[in-house]
Amino acid sequence: MNRPELVCPAGTPSAMRTAVEAGADAVYCGFQNATNARNFPGLNFTVPELEKSVRHAHNGGTKVLLAVNTFPPAGKVDLWKEAVDTGAKLGVDAFIVADIGVADYIAKNYPDIRLHLSVQAAASTPEAIKFYCREFNIKRVVLPRILTVPEIKTMADEIPCEIETFIFGNHGLMVEGRCSLTNYITGLSTNMDGVCSPAAQIQYIKDDSGNLTTKLGEFTIDCFSCDENAGYPTICKGRYLTPAHDGAYYAFEEPISLNLSTLLPDLMAAGVTALKIEGRQRSRAYVKSVVTAYRKAVDNIMAGHNPEISDLLALTEGQKETQGAFKSKAWR
């Protein structure tokens, strides 16, 4: 069994340093604009910050993967090309891409820099992945979170590139790169503007009894009674009233996070090359806890010991965790 790469989130330079110290093999990050899928206010890197951070990460033996993984709208491709050119100049180790135009630009102009296919590309069949490998020399695919571990194993035998899978973090609808729910409500696109449920349109309203209502734009996403754990006001995690159902219910997914700690040995045995932790928008406290826990678990497995995973439930959305489709297709 090969030692998998632990790929960790970095929303700020400080979070990146935290990830490096906690034992990340690679960190992924983005610029402060729509070129990446975590374009949140106050998050991400300026060019000078990334320059310094790449140096620091490389000194610590950690690779830097630059997410340029949104889809440029017509006429705006230059912003994506600029992000790529800057990343190349700063010495990033790989680009994470979803759009074929961006992939083509990198393959032609920077053939020596690795290309990773983002989960946003939603490539979930050997045929699609082989196409990307053939056309753009993709070295690694980040698989959509819709495959079981046995399916991943079969995939590993059929495709000519490395496999990266998510092991912890946000768990939504899993129509990755194709979700238009935010666009429908807020006018901003997750896939082109890089932001799901923009903070500017979120409202938290607490009543006198302690009940918390979360709203996105005009829409109520959920209402938590005072003794209930809360979730993000993302549309796919909303509790809705519909004529088809008695009472409010989670129509798509409930507030919950992915945690594959107990499936780690199976994933590694299935031929997964890299294990990804979601959460660039989370704090450095989150990065420290999750990266430390998974670093220890992976090292233990490699040494033939019990993985001994720390309890990460407090960091999960709604304080609930799932193994999603990795465990069974019956997850929803």
Binding site: S14, L43, G231, L315
Partner: protein
């Protein structure tokens, strides 16, 4: 209980906010258009709130009685220890929100910017502040840290 006299702590708060700003000039970039927003920081188990305006050219950190809260853009409420651990990078704000230990009202985007700005500060803000007050400051931080530890293990 009569409201606590706040005039004594105002100069201390001013020193604290000036020190954090001087040590971390880069943090202001993350505030974007919200650098002059007014935030109310509400430690729910203390008898007063703090009003913060993180404008590098016109900084404000002021203690106010609960019956004297000025108009503001956003409010962040939680226990004093949780807020301290949050600012210090020891606790994850989202986790506190999931557990209902942190409440945000008002302009959510401004709060997200402030959170990201503070989270990008390396090291411990509390330690730097306690150093400003010499041995008594460090002793006070030691007491708080022990309380934090108890809090964590509960």
């Amino acid at each position: 209980m009569p409201p606590p006299p706040l005039f004594a702590i105002q100069p201390v708060l001013r020193r604290i906010v000036n020190r954090v700003a001087t040590d971390n000039p880069d943090m202001f970039g993350r505030l974007g258009p919200h650098y002059n927003a007014h935030f109310v920081i509400d430690p729910v188990n203390l008898p007063f709130v703090l009003v913060l305006r993180p404008d590098p050219d016109d900084l404000l950190l002021d203690a106010r009685q609960r019956n004297d809260i000025p108009p503001h853009d956003a409010k962040v409420s939680g226990s004093f220890l949780d807020l301290l651990m949050l600012v210090d990078g020891d606790l994850d704000g989202d986790a506190l929100f999931f557990a209902r230990d942190l409440t945000i009202t008002g302009n959510t985007e401004a709060v997200v910017c402030l959170r990201n700005a503070l989270d990008d500060i390396d090291g411990s803000i509390a330690e730097n502040i306690s150093d400003m007050f010499g041995p008594p400051g460090r002793a006070a931080l030691g007491i708080l840290r022990r309380a934090k530890q108890r809090n964590k293990s509960e």
